[in-house]
């Protein structure tokens, strides 16, 4: 505003005071410099002064929202925090078994007092202090005392945590809990010293938990392979090698750990296009996000790019509202399961980069995945599927004005479908996220609409803003069917219980379909308490069979994760379920010679 006014003044002055040219010029320059100085003053904060060296540069699409581990619910914060705060146990990249990390050995279970004893290996925090059992007990007690939303369900069954010595922690459970090993012991441990004063101060405030969640953590005390050196918000985040990392020089699961790189720089990109150009140009070494199929041809042809394709632990599915007609009838759900062509979805919509899902548990999670579930429509072509679905519905008492399969066996467009009680089937909607949020799910909805209409089922696919969709489905239960997904399912299959337990059928509960089966509930509760892994596996398999028999959710696909890196810059990428961006990669990656 000021500058434009000045500009106008200059115009006027020019007309009147022609002889004052030199002063006017200097005045203009003064304005320009003052303007520049003003704008730059806010930007120029002192740099921390570190050399990049053999540093891995990673392109990311969003910034971590926080470095406060209790607030971090987003994938981006957890990518960074996962390299700083470490858990007692981690997953082996090949077998996915839990293996000791901060712990020295497998936990010892005492059936008499329902306790687990965990021995710690010698480890230090990045500030030089020792990581002890006190820190572990503190983490658990803090979560339980403050009921930290993200972690409370993993710890609320712990009655007491004892620390007999600096290297030993003893957890007492209120009741047997199968997820203790997989979820409780994989919680990142924080340093007592870092948080104890903050907690005391927060307790004096009106909302202690809120105060702690809003705590800004500028320099997290790390026990992992890296430490935070500098975070320049909106641009980059620099992690430097932690010289005190307990794993350095150690052999865990036959892997000699580093880190062998000096640091990691997370560089922010606003779009995938820019990040991929930067990768091709060599500005970054890795793009830590799934590469969309549209980029594949170009990247495959590029000799400087290496691609990794891995399965994800994810689930994309169609859910039915089984609380009301027409989807309260399992026969209709089975008929739809028969009609939906997963091969088409994988081949056409995902362009071949995905795997079919036959069960709620992804097949990549091999131990828990039950291969012996009903596979609807498997091996049938479109006509075969229509005939099979028609048979299922006809036997269940459904009738048509125009049957989709004529007496001669010819398949035609069905019309005027009626429910077994004789009433016409009302139009219903399949809610999907909009195409700009997820084109795959939106497209799946449209395809399903077409497939169902071939049988005369009046389905309408309706894309809806994601927030509104969740509210409709999860909070209000006002829907017929929907397509949703979980991009990062936990490796412990306890979600299977959460999704279909009848007591979770409540507003904002996880049982969105409203599935209610006492037989399932009984087995599910048994699975949650089964401490023997094989016994639990049998129960989890049984649950999958029941779910796939009744089909409250119809699993559709599990997209593959394709990640791209610069070829020849670093070696030692570790592939596992969920891709190459894992703790093992960061501990084993070496600069190429």
């Amino acid at each position: 505003m000021v500058s434009s006014a000045s500009m106008m003044k200059l115009y006027k002055m020019k007309g009147k005071i022609m002889e004052q040219r030199p002063q006017r010029a200097s005045c203009r320059w003064l304005l320009v410099w003052a303007y520049a100085a003003m704008l730059f003053s806010g930007l120029l904060l002192a740099g921390s002064g570190v050399s990049a060296g053999e540093t891995l540069k990673i392109g990311i699409l969003e910034e971590p929202k926080t470095l406060n581990v209790w607030r971090a619910t987003d994938a981006w914060s957890n990518k960074v925090l996962g390299l700083l705060y470490q858990p007692l146990y981690v997953r082996d990249p090949k077998t996915l078994e839990l293996i000791p990390w901060l712990a020295a050995e497998q936990p010892f279970f005492d059936e008499k007092d329902l306790s687990y004893t965990v021995k710690l290996r010698p480890a230090k925090w990045s500030d030089g202090t020792e990581l002890t059992s006190e820190d572990v007990a503190f983490t658990g007690n803090f979560i339980n005392e403050f009921k930290v939303p993200e972690d409370y369900s993993k710890w609320d069954f712990i009655s007491k945590i004892e620390t007999p010595d600096k290297q030993t922690v003893k957890f007492y459970l209120k009741e047997p809990q199968a997820t203790f090993l997989t979820r409780t012991l994989t919680t990142p441990i924080v340093q007592k010293k870092e948080w104890v004063d903050r907690i005391e101060a927060a307790k004096k405030t009106e909302k202690p938990l809120g105060t702690l969640l809003n705590e800004k953590i500028d320099s997290p005390v790390s026990s992992g392979p890296f430490i935070l050196k500098e975070w320049r918000e909106g641009s980059y985040l620099f992690l430097q090698k932690n010289p005190r990392f307990f794993g350095t020089g150690q052999k865990i699961q036959g892997r000699l750990l580093g880190p062998y790189i000096d640091g990691v720089i997370f560089k922010l990109f606003g779009t995938s296009d820019a990040a991929i150009l930067a990768l091709k140009k060599g500005t970054i070494d890795m793009f830590w996000w799934g590469v969309q199929p549209g980029y594949m041809e170009d990247l495959r042809a590029n000799p400087d790019i290496e691609l990794f394709q891995n399965e994800k632990s994810s689930l994309y599915y169609m859910g039915f509202n089984v609380r009301k007609p027409p989807f309260n009838d399992p026969n209709l759900r089975r008929a739809i399961a028969t009609l939906v062509d997963e091969d088409f979805i994988i081949k056409r919509i995902l362009q071949g980069y995905g795997v079919k899902m036959h069960s709620i548990v992804p097949s990549g999670n091999a131990f828990w995945y039950c291969p012996d579930v009903p596979k609807y429509g498997e091996g049938l072509d479109r006509e075969g599927r229509i005939k099979k679905a028609f048979d299922i519905l006809r036997q269940a008492g459904y009738t048509w004005q125009t049957a989709p399969v004529e007496a001669s066996g010819k398949v035609v467009n069905g019309d005027g479908i009626r429910l077994p009680d004789g009433s016409p089937m009302e139009k219903f909607t399949i809610l999907t996220p909009p195409a700009d949020y997820d084109p795959h799910r939106a497209m799946c909805g449209m395809m399903m609409q077409e497939w169902l209409r071939m049988l005369g089922i009046p389905a309408y696919s309706k894309p809806m803003a994601f927030g509104a969709l969740l509210q409709q489905v999860k909070a209000r239960h006002e829907f017929d069917a929907f397509v949703l997904g979980y991009g990062n399912l936990s490796l412990d299959p306890d979600y299977l219980r959460n999704f279909f337990l009848s007591s979770n059928d409540k507003p904002n509960g996880w049982n969105m379909s409203g599935y209610n089966n006492p037989e399932f509930d009984k087995i599910a509760d048994g699975s949650a308490k089964a401490l023997d892994r094989d016994k639990r596996q049998a129960l989890i398999w049984e649950m999958q069979k029941i779910v796939m028999r009744d089909v409250p959710y119809l699993p559709l696909y599990n997209p593959n994760l394709i990640e791209a890196v610069q070829k020849g810059r670093f070696t030692g990428w570790v592939q596992m379920l969920g891709g190459i961006g894992n703790l093992w990669t960061f501990c084993e990656l070496k600069p190429a010679k």
Binding site: M8, G15, L43, A52, G270, K281, Y486, K506
Partner: protein
């Protein structure tokens, strides 16, 4: 005296309008579907945990109470904590605002200066080749789709030619280097600014050119231009000192309001160029139902635009003595 009365009256209007905006904003965000907690779709979080989080965010309270808290926060200058970042909203806005102002204000000033100058030239050569080239050029660049142009600029100048960095505002190589001083860092920011600035310039200068051209054509029909010619003044003097300053007046309103809106940034530009400004943050906060951050950002924009309107009107009277309130 009249002007003072006018300003007083306008300021009262501004306060009333601002209060209406304050209320409408609050309601708009609450009426939008979804809430910040329902987005957290982690199956590990139980409904009870989610409810506890709602209580912590103050979202369990009735709408009336939430509104009162909102008003209290506003009048105490404390806009609350961002639901997403968990940081005071004011800190987030202040960390992003300078970046937006740097890029967008510079682009508007540059576009306006060049647009006014070229508009003047185009009108002076009305109907000739220069006019056609400038007018068509302005129309074409002004109607280009910004993200497309931005991506083409990045692809051509950063990727193909390698002249400029691929997006961002600073380079970690410079900023992590202990030997980099003030000058090196300033130059680094300017270097990163070239492409976004050029893109914004290409999109915007055409508008100013066209306004200036049409305003100048009107002015050239005025009697005092005829008088100037009759006096035997040089054509250049008539153009630059008699016609242009008067013709530039309508552009002032346009530039003034554009400058006010420039604090809004541009979500598309900032996203494509990874410019850490407020525009991107604003869109993100709305999509994440981050009410405190979205409300505060919109209020800031509303306040600046309302005040700028008054300032532009007053400035107009100052620049054109014929206008009196």
């Amino acid at each position: 005296m009249e002007l003072r009365k006018y300003i007083g009256r306008r300021l009262v209007q501004v306060v009333i309008i601002f209060f209406v905006i304050l209320t409408v904003l609050f309601l708009l965000f609450r009426l939008a579907p979804g809430d910040p907690v329902s987005r957290m779709v982690d199956p590990d979080m139980t409904p009870e945990d989610a409810h506890r989080l709602k209580v912590e965010l103050g979202l369990d309270k009735p709408l009336g109470i939430q509104y009162l808290v909102y008003l209290k926060n506003f009048f105490t200058g404390h806009f609350g904590y961002s639901f997403h970042y968990g940081e005071p909203v004011v800190n987030i806005i202040w960390s992003r605002l300078p970046n937006t102002v740097l890029l967008f204000t510079t682009s508007i000033i540059l576009s306006a200066l060049v647009g006014i100058f070229l508009g003047k030239i185009a009108s002076w050569h009305k109907g000739k080749k220069t006019d056609s080239i400038l007018t068509i050029g302005a129309l074409v660049t002004h109607t280009l789709f910004l993200p497309w142009l931005a991506l083409i600029m990045i692809w051509l100048f950063s990727y193909k030619f390698g002249w400029f960095p691929i997006t961002g505002m600073i380079s970690e190589d410079v900023w992590l280097d202990p030997d980099s001083g003030f000058i090196a860092k300033s130059l680094d920011v300017m270097y990163h600014m070239v492409l976004p600035l050029s893109t914004l310039f290409l999109i915007h200068f055409g508008a100013y050119l066209l306004i200036m051209r049409s305003s100048m054509l009107e002015t050239l029909k005025e009697d005092y231009i005829l008088t100037a010619r009759a006096k035997g003044l040089e054509e250049k003097v008539i153009r630059d000192h008699h016609a242009a300053p008067n013709a530039a007046l309508p552009v002032v309103t346009s530039v003034g309001l554009s400058l006010a809106f420039s604090i809004n940034g541009g979500a598309l530009t900032e996203t494509v160029f990874t410019w850490p400004g407020i525009g991107r943050e604003l869109v993100f906060s709305v999509s994440q139902n981050d009410y405190p951050l979205a409300q505060a950002s919109f209020l800031l924009i509303a306040a600046v635009v309302l005040v700028s309107n008054v300032v532009v009107d007053v400035l107009y009277a100052y620049l054109d003595p014929r206008i009196r309130y």
